[in-house]
Symmetry: C2
Subunit: 326 residues, 2 copies
Amino acid sequence: MKLGILGYGNLGRGVECAIKQNPDAELACVFTRRDPSSVKILTPGVPVVNVSEVAAYKDKIDVLIICGGSATDLPEMTPEYVKYFNVIDSFDTHAKIPTHFANVDRAAKENGHTALISAGWDPGMFSLNRLYANCILPEGKDYTFWGKGVSQGHSDAIRRIDGVKDGKQYTIPVESALSAVRNGENPELTTRQKHVRECFVVAEEGADLARIEREIKTMPNYFDEYDTTVHFITEEELKRDHAGIPHGGFVFRSGVTGWNKENKHIIEYSLKLDSNPEFTSSVIVAYARAINRLHKEGVTGCKTVFDIAPAYLSPLSGEEMRAHLL
Amino acid sequence: MKLGILGYGNLGRGVECAIKQNPDAELACVFTRRDPSSVKILTPGVPVVNVSEVAAYKDKIDVLIICGGSATDLPEMTPEYVKYFNVIDSFDTHAKIPTHFANVDRAAKENGHTALISAGWDPGMFSLNRLYANCILPEGKDYTFWGKGVSQGHSDAIRRIDGVKDGKQYTIPVESALSAVRNGENPELTTRQKHVRECFVVAEEGADLARIEREIKTMPNYFDEYDTTVHFITEEELKRDHAGIPHGGFVFRSGVTGWNKENKHIIEYSLKLDSNPEFTSSVIVAYARAINRLHKEGVTGCKTVFDIAPAYLSPLSGEEMRAHLL
């Protein structure tokens, strides 16, 4: 399958790396909003083209992978580019998924294309695990924990504070909460009891550190409901020790079965990821395979991970899968 | 949906309990090879019928759940009863799945029915997790651990030893092996390094305990490749402390991404089950919902968990799933 990448940031570069690991996938083109001559990609011989020319590639790409941000890019881009291509995105604003789905579904059907939104790990693999576990154990409780990992939104929030030069924020699940869930105790957990936040901050010279720390810890929506630790470090330390973009987390379902609900069951799914964008990209490329196949079968419209039979993700035949993975 | 149960042992009773937890499912009939008057079920008002009369229920049941053993029952039963019904089984002899699939697929297609084989947790949810994780991380290593839980086959093997009155065997993953995998060390593990076996044995009065212990520990295929512990206990202790049928386990994929494979990722799925047959039954009932729907859409033939889009397992609408679970 020939894949296109639209947007060459961390996610776009991750998709490029994932394509290299999938022998049935080929990178056809990278589209950028920047001056194409300023964008250096890793794969030799692949054109980098300005996004204004994307329509000319209409018949040269099986699936276009849209690597934009969820806040402003994807709500515009995915319904627009599905007019020309089968598309896939990693839209992750949970509350706005129904609207985004409706917009993409309408445009996809009008143009005979196939789309998949919200691929990745949350939404994505975590959603799948919530769905499977809810279907198997209809009577139970769900828990999702995130981390340990870097939250881009919280890191950005720190960097907007006056006197902050740079910073990074880690979301960390509270170990005792994880254990209580894992032991089947079905705890009721407040926001504060589920996660702590740890910040590494590079301050401007002469900045008031006490004020910065106070502003972080009391920031509404971002930090005020959490126990937050703030460490002031040097720019060199930030570069040396906090350059990565790790993430991960845990999805639990704790449920009961039996005539009198006498038996407990715990389903746990967890991810420990060195690179959040590269893992997301790897999920996207697997789902691009599915979208390409569904389109060839004549399926159009918008899909999510819930609608895709797992076999569509694999390069293996049904026989191979049944013999080796079932 | 109206469901039938064929075979009323631990699994059949588990299915009956699972049906009670799913408001869209109804138990229509239980079929037994025994004298129906000797079989007492839990659900009031549901007929228990001899299996010889099953064909008369052809149009009264949406999906027949076949609760037989994998060794001799299911290879005969599933291809036979799919002539009359949509069926689902939990066939778990991994090596014989391709043959069983082919037999059921042929009979299902010839009779316009829909079947799903090998529902449960392994094969079943563990297989799904192996497939998803392999598609996302094509370069990596798989690990499956079982336990802590009761192995029926190993417990039976103990009970066949001369001088053994009763016994139960637990399969237990080796904690240090789990940790090594979880830490991304990609260890090469021998059979002995992955699991230990613990046996609780009630001996006949006057039996030679040293000989029994030796016979267990050196039993080929079952115990000789494992570190095995044998505890002799009383019949009362066995009844009091080992009456349950717990099980569970862990599926890992440890893989790499990045242009130079520089980033590691660990995907872990685990189950901790108080009742192995009740959890298996809960998986089966969710897949019965999918098979019923696929049949109504005109799909025939044999399927596995790999072929079923997750949304088919849920009583929720697409809108509800996207709004609450994605």
